[in-house]
Symmetry: C2
Subunit: 271 residues, 2 copies
């Protein structure tokens, strides 16, 4: 296992731009770490696609990140984590962290014995990954999972608080709320942009769980445990952003997530 | 130019399953022709992606179809037609037909001098392909184009006549209807599944244009002109269906479009 040195960057990937919410949390918690982010915008979304196809894409990007010299990989995509985390952990020569287990852990803590709701893409929900992760922590927690395939397109349309978005979210959440969930896992990196609306619909008794912060925490712990944390730097680290589709579109959207921290996007073709 | 024989199949491709509406029209109009259909379900959708990426995908599939021995190629995807038709016509050794020009022609005929509305994906609308095609036929026609990125996800969710779908469609159509369109081009192969709802919202003075039938007509004319029509057969021709993502999902959705005409789907990886 050829773990790279402490000065090597952390590799982060997602099917598109949603994983930049994880990058934002990593930057806040690990301000001295360099990051190489890959958004697979030429093949986005992963959510509706089959396990084999998602695994193939994750393999290609994981190998590319390792070739670029990263010291660890963060899978900042729920669908890719659900289908490919175990395989990446088995095959890549660096530690690999996913978003599902950290989110599951936070949800169990927040729910205090009430049922946990999970919303995500068709792939994430069909995989059962959150149920498995939650039951590995506490087998008695009731888990209510629901695929919400319209939420990503609504976010990407920028309709964050329209009547139609409210109507769609209400329909998706109704059965979960009726069953008395105490925590709701936002099991897709796009969903945190809907937090104000979802929090209002869910009401004050439901704690919303955004996996990004939890994932950054687990990443920090992993680096500490393996002695891989970067030394403090006098100047902010330079990050790299890579997209498989046109860089200009990624840059425009990325600036909404990260403001000044992103000023250039490279183009790389996978597959 | 190595045009294959009259008994060779027609190649048809789309980013996913929507192009099966074109297959249905081809089967009705050209019942003796064999068809090889490719749905690029591993990389769907094309609509939000950049011209270069869509061209690369279209090149790969076009070359694959030619290697499989097709005598012509039908680009049954509006976005791929908008970005890649000219290039495919330049580089493939068989005639290539797209969906934009046939739809434009039908719309100009139906509008009788009133403005023509065009709805489609972000890519199709941004390309300006319908405006160019309509103005090549009649430079005086006023064209009102609108990207409707939520309609495909709504169709794929199966919400064909829900209040939320009605609300989204109303918002998209309002400016076009206010400007008095007399024809509305359904510039995406998914939209014909919304025909009842769209027809009701648009009212009786607006003619809905589904490019599928027009494209089948142009394909028939092209084969006739080049002497490439298949001979009559005693038994129905065997078609082939190919998907780049899992065949089982394609098969389940494909049967909604084509019923008994599809019973097996092959898996091919592109790129």
């Amino acid at each position: 296992m050829a773990v790279s040195g402490t000065d090597a960057p952390i590799g982060v990937f997602d099917s598109g731009i949603g994983g930049l919410t994880v990058v934002r949390s990593l930057m806040a918690r690990l301000p001295h770490e360099r990051i190489v982010y890959v958004g697979d915008t030429a093949r986005v979304p992963y959510g509706p696609k089959s396990p084999d196809t998602v695994r193939r894409y994750a393999d290609e990007i994981g190998r590319w990140l390792v070739d670029e010299g990263v010291k660890s990989v963060v899978v900042a995509c729920n669908t890719a984590t659900a289908y490919a985390l175990g395989r990446l952990q088995d095959t890549l020569p660096v530690p690999v962290v996913g978003v599902v287990e950290p989110g599951a852990r936070a949800a169990v803590r927040a729910a205090h014995g009430t049922p946990v709701g999970v919303i995500g893409t068709v792939g994430t929900i069909a995989s059962g990954a959150y149920e498995r992760a939650i039951h590995a922590i506490d087998p008695d927690v009731v888990v209510l999972a629901r695929a919400c395939p319209l939420l990503v397109p609504l976010v990407e349309e920028g309709w964050l608080d329209r009547p139609v978005t409210r109507m769609v979210a209400q329909e998706y959440l109704a059965p979960l709320l009726a069953d008395g969930i105490g925590a709701l896992v936002l099991g897709c990196t796009h969903y945190p942009l809907l937090t104000p609306l979802l929090a209002e619909l869910a009401g004050p008794s439901v704690r919303l769980i955004d996996s990004a912060d939890e994932t950054a925490l687990v990443t920090a712990d992993t680096l500490d445990r393996l002695g891989l944390r970067a030394a403090e730097r006098a100047t902010p680290p330079r990050h790299r952003f890579v997209a498989s589709d046109a860089p200009d579109r990624f840059l425009a959207l990325g600036q909404q997530f990260l403001a000044g921290a992103i000023d250039h996007v490279e183009h790389v073709t996978f597959g």
